[in-house]
């Protein structure tokens, strides 16, 4: 399987089964092998239990070791310039931040808590109104405590980016246990209870 580069060229495979075939033989340097369960877990934990990602309608379109493709649909409430209908830069920030985090998780041999240290975003052109936002992020280096990521936001052609980003993440940031979907669901329930509202 040709490992997709972050600058495009990666084929967009819909669905987890397609991804699995593409990544079947990929074994991380640490001996960790990515499985469809692993990707399903990422999808579940990292989107379903992240209220903000859910609120934006974020979806993991595709995933590979150290790489993630996410999308956010166009919505009127995300508009930053009412005159033009162009999506707010902040939505792109949220998408890239989240997508970078997922790319880091997909590069790690086990689930651990991570925290964004910094994120730099360059805006190349305004997003086109009514079009879905896509992102491709790639975690290209992991050290014992830091992960390095870069990514692109675009509509359909990654070579024609809306924005690019580079970021660093701290690993084991909160020394918490790796989060399973059950643990995340439990945490959300507790949180909703405490705050007196549905999450």
């Amino acid at each position: 399987m040709p490992v997709p580069t972050w600058r495009g060229g990666a084929e967009r495979v819909k669905g987890i089964s397609g991804v699995f075939t593409a990544c079947e033989d990929f074994v991380m340097a640490s001996g960790f092998k990515i499985t469809p369960e692993h990707i399903a877990l990422m999808k579940d934990v990292l989107i379903e239990h992240v209220p903000h990602a859910k609120a934006l309608g974020m979806t993991v379109v595709n995933a590979a070791p150290g790489e993630a493709w996410l999308s956010v649909p166009y919505a009127e409430n995300l508009v930053g310039n009412p005159e033009t209908g162009v999506i707010h830069g902040g939505v792109i920030t949220s998408l890239l931040d989240n997508a970078c985090g997922i790319a880091v998780q997909l590069a790690l041999p086990e689930r651990m808590s991570i925290a964004t240290l910094d994120l730099r975003i360059d805006y190349m052109k305004p997003a086109t109104p009514k079009l879905e936002l896509m992102s491709h992020t790639h975690c290209y280096k992991v050290t014992s405590s830091i992960a390095f990521v870069r990514g692109t936001a675009y509509h359909s052609d990654e070579a024609d980016p809306i924005a690019t980003c580079v970021g660093t993440f701290m690993l084991s940031a909160n020394r918490s246990m790796p989060m399973t979907p059950e643990a995340a669901a439990e945490a959300m329930a507790l949180f909703a209870q405490k705050k007196g509202g549905a999450a």
């Binding site: 508009v79 009412p82 830069g89 964004t116 994120l119 730099r120 975003i121 805006y123 995340a184 945490a187």
Partner: protein, 145 residues
């Protein structure tokens, strides 16, 4: 312009931005000081376990804070467009209201450099800081001054 003070009404400008309204950003304007307020709601959460605000939300809030400050100082005209923004995440954002202030470090004719900070309980302990460049006018637009 508000009738009494002759200062731009940044709150009205903010409320005209659907995304700022959706996030729950309001403006606390005291004289020439602009403080942005990000009102906490469940949908801003990025990590339900801690819980903590989503990094993207904090970035969006800092960007909006910078735009509010620019709109206040530059006056009427098209909204400034972000060119680039670097966000430093300093502490995790608690599930409470967040405040933001921005300082224009350099304002040119076309581009302005802005530094913004966000804090919660203690202004001296910011949760995030950002610095960015904003395009005030495109090259083909005539300069008014």
């Amino acid at each position: 312009m508000s009738a009494e003070t002759n200062m731009p009404d940044i709150e009205a400008l903010m409320q005209a931005i659907p995304y700022a309204r959706w996030l729950g950003i309001t403006i606390d304007q005291r004289g020439n000081e602009i403080t942005t307020v990000l009102h906490f709601s469940q949908k801003l959460i990025g990590n339900p376990v801690l819980p903590a605000l989503h990094g993207g939300v904090i970035g969006a809030f800092l960007e909006t804070t910078a735009i509010a400050q620019l709109a206040f100082e530059a006056g009427a005209g098209p909204l400034p467009k972000p060119i680039g923004l670097t966000i430093d995440y300093l502490r995790s954002g608690k599930p409470v209201d967040t405040y933001g202030r921005a300082v224009i470090t350099k304002q040119g004719r076309r581009v302005a450099t802005v530094h913004a900070e966000a804090w919660q309980e203690d202004r001296a302990r910011p949760i995030a800081a950002a610095h960015g460049h904003f395009l005030l006018k495109a090259a083909d637009e005539p300069a008014e001054k």
